[in-house]
Amino acid sequence: MKKILVTFVLLMAFGVTLLSVDVTINNRFSSLNKTNDLKELSVLDVLLELGDEKPDHYLMRTNQDSVRMGYEIVHLGQLKDKSNSRLSKFFVCTDCHNEVIEVADLSTETTGDRVSYGVKNDLPFLPASTFYGMYNKTHWYNGDYSKKYGDLVKPTRDTLINAIQLCAVQCSQGRPLKDWELNAIMHYYKSIEFKIKDLKLNQSELNQLLTDLATHNTRSIELLKSKFKSINAATFGDLQPKQPDNYSADLKTGEYIFKNGCLHCHGMGKDITNFEFDNDKLTLSFLKSKLKKHNSYSVPYIVRKGTYAVSGRRQYMPQYPLEKMSNTQLFDLINYIKSKSK
């Protein structure tokens, strides 16, 4: 008799739990009767509701304290109250990563788009991928990064936490992150994950999504995934790039890359690199005089190869893959340097 009672109570409890979860989910999506409400939802939540699988780094909701801590670690390299040690003495994350959308069209993410959108919004032009939407990616350190980091990229390819850890230890030449720090960064990433509105769906696509959410139709999963890149591809360019066919110099693009790219880290007073310079004639003449060389003073070489960490000088420069700066844009930069140094 006692056993039956216990079983009954357990079953009841289980049922109530199931019911309450159901209520929560229903509450989130059942009230969606306008596409405007839909736009505010996170892309991942909608994908999950449509039946997609949860990623390994899945968080149900953000914790605001963790988001703040993650934000501070990303920007300052440590918590604002300095209660943890600095992640790296050389870099903070924002030296190489933006935290906003970098293109007008997320589905293509072309290099031309990166420049025109970057000029319009005065964004830093950086070699690494933006953190905005990093939470929505499925693979990291893709493509040719295996040429730079070898087997180190293997555990990072499908696990975001490992990718963050590799970036901390290798790219920023810092210490490994502790679990709570990784957790805080993940919460921060979730706070800047893709929203439906970022994907710029048209009205008929929004209507379809609304219908599919109500009927749990999985066809919209494909629609959503076609609107953003699930991986950031990386192809390393030639160290001695050839001028593209039918090339005509765009000095405005060159100037933007020099000011918002090069000077982002090398600018005077930044104390990020050992080689600081300004947008002045002395610097540009110096860079021009080194263009023909095939070493790390030559702009095309350093853009494509970066530098490596060496004993005594552990901070180094990441390279721009072709997906972040096209050869045409690299020649725009070279021509800007040449034009200003006359």
């Binding site: 605001q64 934000y71 003495k89 005077m268 007073g269 050992n274 300004d278 610097t283 003449s285 901070q315």
Partner: protein, 284 residues
């Protein structure tokens, strides 16, 4: 709420960024013009290791081929560590061989930046440097000597100076300095406190090569001593991470506590020398 915070933080960062953009940097490349301080500072948490070296006389009695134009002799050498407590407060600790009777010298300094030149706004860099030197070698038994120390405090030398500079163009920077140099113990015919002013001109030919001239004039020297005013010409060669200066000077000392009052070399007698400084910066 959080979004508001982010917006606030971003706007604060952006404003901070635009302020730093307005500042003028690199009036001089290093924290020294040649031998004396410049208005430049080390960034926070940066440690600089410096080695300054002066050879013997190029010509004259102690120079020439017999001494391989001074390269066989060591006039003075200073090895030092300098550190940025903040971007505007630096400290340093050095040890130099010393010159004449002032040998075995440990020096330390504190340096504070009071103003930094801006593109629109503040017109000058202003820095104040206070330094002291302490000679730890055994005292002389000759009561007429300047190292006939009777107490510890007699071994101390102080120099306080205000340095003002301006970068006029990308190529041309000028610096003026004025200060007070005090030796607690001097010979009977000397004066303890010296008032000095100085100037530096830096002209850059290219991004990595510049010419620097540095002169300091002491106004109240005792006429009974052989002291001369220190004058130096130098080239600076910049590479990533460190600068390298090659100097020709009459003074042997490489620390302001030494070269202001212990320069007795005469240019006209061939008593000038080659010197160099190398430095390396580390992030801590």
């Amino acid at each position: 709420m959080f979004k508001k915070n982010i917006v606030l933080l971003v706007s604060v960062l952006v404003t901070g960024f635009s302020f730093s953009q307005d500042k003028i940097w690199d009036t001089f490349d290093g924290t020294r013009a040649l031998s004396n301080h410049s208005t430049e500072m080390l960034f926070k948490k940066n440690l600089e290791f410096r080695v300054s070296h002066k050879f013997g006389d190029i010509a004259g009695d102690n120079g020439g081929l017999q001494n391989f134009y001074g390269f066989d002799n060591l006039a003075d050498v200073r090895i030092a560590f300098e550190y940025g407590i903040t971007d505007n407060i630096n400290i340093g600790l050095g040890r130099s061989k010393g010159v004449n009777e002032r040998t075995g010298v440990v020096d330390m300094f504190g340096k504070i930046r009071l103003m930094q030149q801006e593109k629109k706004g503040k017109p000058l860099n202003i820095t104040y440097v206070s330094s002291l030197a302490f000679s730890y070698k055994d005292a002389s038994t000759d009561s007429t000597s300047s190292n006939y120390y009777q107490t510890m405090t007699e071994r101390l030398i102080f120099t306080n100076q205000l340095i003002v500079s301006r970068k006029f163009t990308d190529r041309l920077s000028l610096q003026l300095n004025a200060g007070y140099h005090h030796r607690n113990l001097v010979t009977y015919n000397d004066v303890n406190g010296l008032i000095f002013t100085g100037g530096v001109i830096r002209y850059r030919f290219t991004k990595t090569l510049g010419l620097i001239t540095e002169y300091n004039h002491v106004w109240n020297r005792s006429k009974d001593t052989e002291q001369k005013n220190p004058l130096a010409f130098g080239f600076e060669l910049l590479t990533g991470g460190h600068n390298f200066t090659i100097v020709v000077s009459n003074h042997k000392g490489v620390n302001e506590n030494i070269f202001l009052s212990n320069t007795t070399s005469n240019w006209l007698k061939g008593q000038w020398r080659i010197g160099f400084t190398i430095n390396r910066r580390f992030k801590l």
